[in-house]
């Protein structure tokens, strides 16, 4: 993993919502092609961190550099270009409810390529078959199950072959079998397409199945309290709180206290 170029860098990021400090001086970098995880208990600021990394919100202090561009202060046109090179799978899948699955996936392809309509339709089928949803293109998001919506959201996030894919709790709210299938799918896409994956999660199953490297955010101190591979941290972390997290043992209060 060393020696690979950093594709996303977060430097001294501080986020505050009103009086409340959400992230305090967080720095890390994500290497090209790896499966990187942002881990932490509920309310530790994982999703907030991701929202800053995809440019949805501007931090109070610090920089976020995606593919060489500082997205916290670059002009809008440049930000749009960066946005095109990333894909995001939102926690609720965020499929547009008025469009069919196929139309949802076709939306970015029609907007950003000049391919003819029938080629786009074939591309949509290819993308849907990649996530195991062939034949569902005429269904509305409300007509398919939660796991299938996740897959469809993934197909839409992958529509333009992004270099970086952000996934917000990809297996949250799914049954264990479906969750494991989604994890396999993420791994398969990462390996076959070389897409850098940045995954926000708190599911231990996913962390151990998927994670190559991770950061652990702590609710009390608002810092990163551990960085490394999941198995390594579980066994050898000097901090008991970190080992507790990966062994899923409840303790009085949140990790790190």
């Amino acid at each position: 993993m060393e020696g690979r170029a950093a594709i996303v860098e977060v430097k001294n990021l501080t986020v505050r919502y009103g009086e409340e400090l959400v992230l305090d001086d967080v720095s890390f970098s994500v290497h090209n092609g790896e499966r990187f995880m942002i881990v932490g208990g509920s309310g530790s600021g994982k999703s907030t961190l991701m929202r800053h990394m995809i440019g949805l919100e501007n931090p109070e202090k610090g920089r976020v550099i995606v593919g060489g561009t500082d997205i916290t202060e670059c002009p809008d046109a440049q930000l749009k270009r960066v946005m095109r090179s990333i894909g995001v799978l939102f926690q609720s899948s965020a499929l547009l409810g008025s469009l069919t699955i196929g139309e949802n996936v076709a939306l970015p392809i029609l907007e950003f390529t000049r391919l003819p309509k029938n080629a786009v339709a074939d591309m949509v089928r290819m993308k849907l078959s990649l996530v195991g949803l062939e034949c569902y293109e005429d269904h509305l998001p409300s007509e398919i199950s939660g796991g299938m919506r996740k897959r469809a959201g993934l197909a839409r996030a992958l529509a333009l072959n992004p270099e970086i894919l952000f996934l917000d709790e990809p297996s949250a709210g799914l049954d264990p079998i479906t969750a494991a299938e989604i994890d396999d799918l993420i791994q398969h896409i990462n390996q076959s397409m070389g897409t850098t994956m940045i995954i926000v999660t708190h599911e231990l199953e996913s962390i151990f199945n998927l994670g190559q490297r991770l950061i652990l955010l702590d609710k009390a101190s608002r810092h990163i309290i551990a960085e490394g591979s999941p198995v390594d941290l579980q066994k050898h972390s000097p901090r008991p709180a970190v080992r507790h997290f990966f062994n899923a043992r409840a303790q009085g209060g949140s990790a790190g206290r």
Partner: protein
């Protein structure tokens, strides 16, 4: 990072011995170049003899969009498998290239719930939907009757606080707009009728005309239409949002009757406030007429008012008010009904609000004409 240099190219050579053409592809066959390469290759290969050999030894990048280009060429020009060859691909592209032999038709069986359907299927589906909608309406009316009976027996079971909140938003908050509209309406009627009545010197009858028109027709109907836009749509949108986010189900499971909980406070609130608003509308309409009467027709205020009082009978006032009670039930009932009928996502909320307004305006006009017919019999 991915190569920023997104160039591609090809050379076409005619094969000497086995016939057909070899297309030597070079460079980047990916999302950046797919549209251009597909267009150019299609027009180039349209009339070339088969078989075609695609030599990929010079390709540096190939993603699924690159595979799509090859797939589209094969599909579009209807080249059979035996005459379409891909030679010298990098090993790492083998998986991507499998997409070229994708057969969607074969892999796709007809899935249940698919939106495809022919004309006859659509008619059948609409008929079934219409019947179940009638069933739903009957059940809804039944639910309201039961809830009203329940409230009559145990008045404390009604959520009085909700009702007061609703009365404020449907009544007090609507008063300025109702007052303004009916004042202007009274003004307009007085002005228009004065143009005619002046010719006969019958200025004083402007007062009668305004009073009759406002009290028996325009007051109730304008109030009901404004209420359907303000109140009915709000009821529909709010209940629809609660329905799709399972809040209604939660109420039901906790042992509440959603009709008693949500519909009754809203309907009773409207039943009280909409007739009250109608009284205000009548008042402001007559005030508008009075302004024209004094300013343009040289009538005195007292003459105008006494003529108004002389024209209006108790029956007239009661008739208009009774209509507005009926309209209040229509507006609030249809609003809640459309909310409960909502199903699906965010778009369903918008649809519920729209159809609530459209349906209530339609039914307001329809019942008003029924009232007119009934009245012609009463005398």
């Amino acid at each position: 990072m991915r190569h920023k240099a997104s160039t591609w190219g090809y050379t076409l050579t005619e094969n000497a011995d086995e016939g057909g053409y070899t297309i030597q592809l070079q460079g980047n066959l990916s999302i950046e170049t797919a549209a251009e390469s597909l267009e150019r290759l299609l027009s180039e290969l349209q009339k070339k003899t088969r078989p075609l050999y695609f030599d990929l030894s010079g390709v540096t990048t190939l993603d699924d969009y690159g595979a799509l280009v090859l797939f589209e060429i094969k599909h579009h020009l209807q080249i059979p498998d035996a005459q379409f060859h891909i030679i010298n691909p990098f090993d790492s592209y083998r998986k991507t290239l499998a997409l070229v032999n994708f057969d969607f038709e074969q892999r796709c069986s007809v899935m249940p719930g698919s939106r495809r359907g022919n004309f006859i299927v659509e008619i059948g589906a609409d008929t079934i939907a219409a019947f179940s909608s009638v069933k739903f309406i009957v059940a809804f009316l039944g639910g309201i009757s039961l809830a009203v009976a329940e409230v009559a027996k145990h008045p404390r079971r009604m959520r009085a606080n909700d009702m007061i909140t609703q009365m404020k938003s449907t009544g007090v908050d609507a008063l300025p707009v109702i007052a303004l509209i009916s004042f202007l309406l009274g003004l307009i009627i007085a002005f228009m009728s004065s143009l005619q009545l002046k010719q006969f010197g019958a200025h004083i009858y402007v007062a009668s005309l305004v009073a009759m028109a406002m009290v028996s027709e325009l007051g109730p109907i304008m109030t009901a239409i404004v209420a359907s836009g303000r109140t009915g749509s709000a009821f529909a949108a709010e209940i629809a949002a609660m329905k799709i986010s399972e809040e209604v189900d939660a109420l039901y499971v906790m042992g509440f009757d959603p009709t008693l909980f949500l519909v009754i406070p809203r309907m009773i609130a409207s039943f009280i406030t909409i007739p009250l608003l109608t009284v205000f509308a009548n008042f402001f309409g007559i005030a508008g007429g009075l302004l024209i009467g004094i300013a343009m027709l040289d009538l005195t205020a007292s003459a105008y008012i006494s003529q108004t009082i002389e024209t209006l009978t108790l029956f007239e006032l009661g008739w208009g008010l009774m209509k507005s009670f009926v309209f209040a039930l229509l507006v609030s009932g249809i609003g809640c009904l459309k909310g409960f009928q909502a199903r699906g996502g965010a778009a369903a909320v918008g649809r519920a609000a729209t159809s609530a307004v459209v349906a209530s305006i339609f039914f307001i006009i329809l019942t008003d004409s029924l009232f007119a017919v009934i009245r012609s019999y009463i005398g």
